[in-house]
């Protein structure tokens, strides 16, 4: 049975907020202000998206659902790059293509083959799954982007050695690319190793609280974990394959100015 907390019940969770603020003051953490802003943003953003999704669930037009997903993916690509420690020009398109292919490929397989939803654009499935998957694709792309930069920067001499030996830029930087994809996947692999043992993922908790049978919730969680692994791998592979070019000039010289 679903327990639907009323707004007054929800307000009671502010007890937790008050406790954190008190602790922050007592311990001199000096984070009251950012905590208050973060809490306010959490409330506003989640209510906003709750009502948006409620509206989308009622939509029966595939192009609106696909449009909403593409919009979310575009924002994710921008946000993923925004987190890079060093901004490198020319990476938006690779990140966008990475996030979009990683998400769409994964969602298509799961909704078409595993869940067999009908119609194929069922918003109550596509929107939540899409949101979760593209978030992970974005995280994967973001880690890959940072790692690709640091790997190329740290192996300039090796890359130039390959170039001097007449190798093309893809061959010269393939080890850096491999490390970037590997780094993007590590958090996912770690999560897959410990899921259910050390922590219950948010979605599974949500389903259990929503009254879903625990075994059904587990099945969904298995699907989700594999979707995350797939979207991160595809997104980071596509991103790094396209992003490599940004680190080289048109005549396949390492763009040393970017790496200073």
């Amino acid at each position: 049975m679903i327990i639907d907390p009323g707004f007054d019940d929800l307000a009671m969770t502010m007890i937790l907020f008050a406790m954190v603020i008190l602790l922050s003051i007592r311990e001199g953490l000096n984070i009251e202000r950012s905590l208050a802003i973060a809490t306010l943003r959490t409330v506003v953003q989640l209510f906003f998206i709750g009502y948006v999704i409620k509206g989308l669930f009622a939509v029966d037009a595939w192009y609106i659902i696909v449009g909403a997903l593409l919009l979310m993916m575009t924002y994710a690509a921008k946000a993923g790059l925004g987190r890079m420690k060093k901004q490198v020009p020319g990476l938006f398109l690779p990140m966008w293509v990475g996030v979009v292919t990683g998400s769409i490929f994964t969602i298509a397989v799961v909704t078409g083959v595993t869940l067999k939803i009908d119609p194929w654009y069922r918003p109550d499935v596509l929107i939540p799954l899409g949101g979760m998957i593209l978030g992970n694709a974005m995280n994967g792309g973001s880690i890959a982007a940072d790692r690709l930069y640091s790997e190329i920067r740290g192996s300039k001499d090796q890359i130039e050695t390959y170039l001097m030996l007449g190798r093309d830029y893809r061959h010269a930087a393939k080890e850096a690319r491999r490390e970037a994809v590997r780094a993007a996947l590590i958090p996912t692999i770690n999560a897959m190793m410990t899921v259910g043992l050390v922590h219950l993922p948010g979605m599974m908790v949500g389903q259990l609280l929503g009254g879903v049978d625990p075994v059904v919730a587990a099945k969904y969680q298995i699907i989700i974990m594999l979707m995350v692994a797939s979207s991160v791998t595809v997104a980071s592979s596509v991103f790094t394959a396209m992003a490599l070019k940004s680190y080289f000039t048109k005549n396949q010289m390492l763009n040393l100015k970017l790496l200073d």
Binding site: D157, Q158, E160, T161, Y162, L163, M164, L165, G166, R167, D168, T249, N251, Q252, M253, L254, K257
Partner: protein, 216 residues
């Protein structure tokens, strides 16, 4: 005869498109390297010798002027193809993880027989037992010779060496110079050799070129 490499009125500054504070390294610089030349580039350290070799290997782009290889502008080549023909060995040898054998084969698409590698090692006075050793465990001098062999296996038309004997003691340096002289004769190789100590290379030099005074 068409020079194998020709630079005409080449200018280069770093950073290449720097607006402010750029350092001009070459201005209207011209140079011809003929086939079979063994050209020694000399000059004080920091005078642009390494940059010149990097420009020749097309690892840097001139800001102005023309760079030709075999009479064709560099820009008409696919860069990896040009770099196989005009092959640069950097001053500090870079070895990848793996054996000497795998490092020597880095630029090759086809597997190469151990006999060929060993014969090259003999020519550079490298002990044959080193072939299966981790390349990173070799001395700098040995690594430098492995790096040169690695480039020679590509059968370049021009070999560019950037201070290759700087990590060697005098005796090893002399062995290296002699080996290179012999290889140039046998393979018909064109050689451009950077050195701040050109006198040690008199035995193999066909011409020398000083960058001192030319460079701004």
């Amino acid at each position: 005869m068409t020079p194998i490499i020709e630079f005409k009125d080449v200018s280069f500054s770093y950073p290449p498109d720097g607006m402010n504070g750029e350092k001009v390294i070459f201005r209207d610089f011209s140079l011809k390297v003929s086939r079979g030349d063994r050209l020694i580039i000399r000059g004080k350290s920091g005078c642009g010798k390494t940059t010149l070799l990097r420009l020749m290997a097309w690892l840097e782009e001139p800001c102005a002027g023309a760079a030709n290889c075999g009479g064709r502008p560099y820009s008409t080549y696919y860069p990896p193809d040009l770099r196989r023909q005009v092959s640069l060995v950097s001053q500090t040898p870079v070895m990848m993880d793996g054996s000497v054998r795998s490092n020597m084969a880095l630029g090759l698409d086809e597997p190469v027989s151990g006999e060929i590698l060993l014969s090259w090692m003999d020519r550079f006075d490298l002990d044959r037992s080193l072939l299966e050793r981790q390349a990173g465990s070799l001395s700098v001098g040995q690594q430098q010779r492995v790096a040169v062999i690695r480039n020679l296996l590509l059968k370049p038309k021009v070999l560019l060496l950037d201070e290759p004997t700087s990590g060697l003691d005098q005796e090893s340096g002399e062995v290296f110079v002699t080996a290179m002289g012999r290889i140039c004769e046998e393979e018909g190789l064109t050689l451009v050799w950077n050195s701040h100590n050109a006198s040690s290379l008199e035995s193999i030099a066909s011409s020398t070129f000083s960058l001192d005074g030319i460079v701004l």
